[in-house]
């Protein structure tokens, strides 16, 4: 089972997402980060500890301090030093096509998901990500 990271300042989204993932037993462990900076710090610290690194990372765009875009910029330079390949899902309530296009410009982003995310959607995403692997 996978380790899943949720990077979002929205506490209600964190709660709902966690609950869905737990109930569906899709995740072995769920990591919570309030913003990009916290997530980056964690990844840097645990870069070589494969067993602690997430397999999937759900990333919100709009966050205070280090937002989703800034996280991605840093992640592109960071990823080569990580012991594990991480699939990133961009998550936003935005329906602005500019955000979608911008997300696609990052090769690190596996998919772009518009909130809210249903249980079925989670299952589908993780399955397709596994098939790719």
């Amino acid at each position: 089972m996978a380790i899943i990271a949720l990077v979002d300042d929205d506490s209600i989204f964190q709660f709902t997402a966690t609950r869905l993932l737990e109930s569906s037993k899709l995740a072995q462990n769920i990591l919570h980060f309030e913003n990009g900076a916290e997530a980056l710090t964690f990844l840097r610290e645990k870069a070589l500890q494969k067993e602690l690194l997430p397999d999937y990372l759900f990333l919100d765009i709009n966050m205070p301090f280090v937002d989703g875009w800034m996280f991605l910029e840093d992640f592109t330079t960071l990823k080569s030093s990580l012991a594990k390949d991480i699939s990133i899902f961009m998550v936003s309530s935005s329906i602005d096509p500019r955000d979608l296009n911008r997300a696609k410009s990052f090769s690190e982003v596996t998919d772009f998901i518009i909130k809210p995310i249903s249980l079925e959607r989670f299952q589908e995403l993780l399955k397709s990500a596994q098939t790719i692997e």
Partner: protein
Amino acid sequence: MPSPFLSTAIENSTGVIAFSLDRQYRYTSFTNSHYQTMKKIWNVEIAIGVNFLALLEKLNTSDYLKAKGNFDRALAGEHFTKTEDYGDGIQRLFWEDRYDPIYDENKNIIGLVVIVIEVTDRIELINKNAISSERLNLALNAGNIGIWEWNMSTNDVFWSDEILRIYGLDQAFRTLTFEDYLTYVHPEDIDRLKQDIDMCLQTNGQYKTEHRVIPPDGIMRWISGTGKVFLKNGVPTKMTGTIIDITQQKTDAKALLESQEVYRTLTNNMHDMVAQADINGNFIYVSPSHKRILGFDSEKLFGRSIFELIHPQDLPLVATKFEVSIKNKNPEKAEFRYKNANGEYVWIETQGNPILNPKGEVETIILSSRDISERKANEEALRHRDAMVSALAEATSYLAVETNVWIGLQKAIGVLGEKTGADRILIFQNDPTTATAACTLKVKWTSNEMEGKFEYAGTAQFPYRLAPSLEKSLSSKKTFLSHVADIQDDAYRTELAALHVKSVINVPIQVYGQFWGFLGVDECKAERQITNSEFAILKSFVATVGTVLERKEIERENKEWQTRYEIIAASSGQVIYDYDVPSGQIVWSGNSKDVLGLETGEMGNAKEWEKRIHAEDRERVTAELETCRQEGKSFQIEYRFQTKSSSFTQLSDRGFFLKDANGVAYRMLGIMTDISQQKKAEFELKESETRFRTLQEASFGGIGLHYQGEILDANKGLSDITGFSYDELIGMNGVNLIAPESQSVVKEKINMGYEKPYDVIGIRKDGTRYNLEIHSRNIPYQGKTIRVTEFRDITERKQNEEKIIDQNNKLSLFAEDLKRKNEQLDEFTQIVSHNLRSPVSNILSLLDFYEKTEDPAEKKMFIKMLHDSGTKILTSLQELNEVLKIKQDKDIARQDLLFENVLDGVRKQLSSQIAEAKAVVSTDFERVPKVKYPNIYLESVLINLLSNALKYRHPDRTPEIRLKSTVENERVILTVTDNGLGIDLKRYGHHIFKLRKTFHKHPESRGIGLFMIKSQIEALGGEITISSEQNIGTTFIVKF
């Protein structure tokens, strides 16, 4: 070893000739005397740069070959002297030539110097002597020839008078028979003579014999006789012959032999000193002749060592020779200095002959000595003379080589001074303005010993009046030569004495035959008599100096000429050139770059010039030039000339050829003018005439032709526009068609030949004004530059332009507004998609959970969360509303506000936060205390910036917030600076003023304030910017 003639000749001659050549045998210098000689002998005028050998080749082939051989030897590094004859075939002169190579500083041979002394007089004297004595002998002999004839058939003998005279016989002996004659012949010779005659008769040949005769007077005579047999029908019939008295010759030969013996005996006896020494070198015999030569009585030397009085420097040599002689039992010879009775050293040559005893051991040594002081002195003089000549050669070579005359002179006098052992050499030049009133020191050389003792500082300019005797001598071209003590002029003598001078030689320097100045040689060590050779050298050198200075004058003149024509060329915008036909070299004036865009080097020689002529013009140009060259006519040719790359310039080339004495053109001087502008103008004139004609008929505008404002011609259009009739326009000053305020502009444009359209205000005949566009061009017309001017009434256009500008302004305002609105729309999209959609999506998720759970505690929790999400949506909507209000409130009323007052209110609102942070808020509103702004906005700005600064204060230091108002371009500016955490603008800059953006993990970050005030400020046309540095602080700048 130099020829024996040289020393005499150089001493007798003051006109030493010298010249130097470069490796190509071209003159690099020559003395005036050489110039004169060449002119005298060959009738050629030589000059620096002229090839001497080429000249000689044309004049005399054998001389050419001879000279070339000598020059080449010198150029190969040989120093030598040769006596040879050179001349034009009628007059051959003998020259004693010394050849020396000239070296540069790297010891490379760069030429040669030849010092020439004419020795014709001597050679001729010798030859004359030889010739005349021969002639004399011939004459004498001719006078002494006697003729006889013997008729064999009759046995009659004819004796000529001369024979009778030779034998001292009178006429009575004229009938003497042959047998009688034989009785006078010397008995010892008679048989030989008979034999000779018999042989002659037998062979029908002839004889020649010498025999003695003793005629009746008893005096023996030597006779040289000849005889020849004449045959008739194969039988000898006659014999005839001559006799010559050769007694004198026979006697002379004998006398010479005898006298030589006598001479030898005399010399031996009179000049030699003979002494005998033992093997230890002590005198055991001293001949009396020692007294005469050395001043010692023989007894004085007896018993003393032969080495005692030998000069210490020569002693080792003599001692060695003495030992060697004894050891080898062979004679040895030595030359050495020996102290005489007066304590002076005299040069002695001694031969030591070891004398052996019967056992074969050396017992004594016979020393025969002679005084060789004179010979030594001659040798010394010869060496000195050689040094002099080589000094002159070297000094002259410096004058030839150095391009800077003064440096050359400096080096030359240095060499001269070193070699002649002088103490100072100076060259003074007469003051050119005051003639011979004074002279100035130009070049000086001081010997090492005198260095430092030379203090000419105060008198570098020397007034001749101090030394009238010097001036008198020099100005009459005479050398002033004196011991200082003998100088009559007190001031001059005193001055020289002060400078430690003992003797002076001042030789006048002539330039163009004028007294130019003088070369002075100072002797400081002792009074010294100048030798003839030194004097000859000096005069020769000074003559060369004169020539060099003349050359410099010429160069200066050339330079001045060059400068003059450069100025002319530059000011006229023409290229001037000087073409040397034989060499093809062309000297271009330096402005070729300005006129044609080509450096003088790029212009090149005649060939390169020809290449640059346009292919279509080339044949015509060369043919035309050739004709002019042959006919010696001046020329003016126009052709296209290639300047840079492939572009051609139309040139007018004017000039003329200079011819030499034979009528051959050797030089071409000319001026090139770039006439492409003129050609272009001509073309344009044609074009504009056509256009003018067309326009005259078809143009809506007015057209006028004017010369410096005066209208020469106009079309109907001009009448229509201005209201003046055609007749009124012609002759009128066109400027009067322009409104007074525009006239100066128009005049200026006319003066500068402005050719682009420009707008002015025109004035019609009726005084009404209108907008006028003028478009003029300069056109060459019948020798002058006239202007074609088009008038166009642009009132309507101006009005339209104004309308367009007005509309454009409106449009751009509108566009700006639209742009801003678009940006706002964008922002709203962002707000709606992020800030409103996310709580809504949360609500949906929560509702889903709520429906699925049965747990009442969970249900309660979901309800609370739903409530929170709803509140969030409401807050966002309120904020949005606020922003929208701002955007719509563009026209909110502004009031005069005092920063201080508004800040007071804000401070009160934030008092608890300020107190908690212990922040220091300072203000500087003195210069700009007020701003016209909506109160509520200014309050908002201050609250947000202040609370922002408090929020992001640095935890380690007291927060300081400084507010300052200034004014820039009439806009009030508020600066708020803090010393807080600062922001990494590179990373977060794009987010600063966005809604819901925070850049710090700070609990109070809400991300609304900056977005709000930015909206407010921008809504009123202002702007807000930020500068910040992490851990240093942040500054916000608000332009109201």
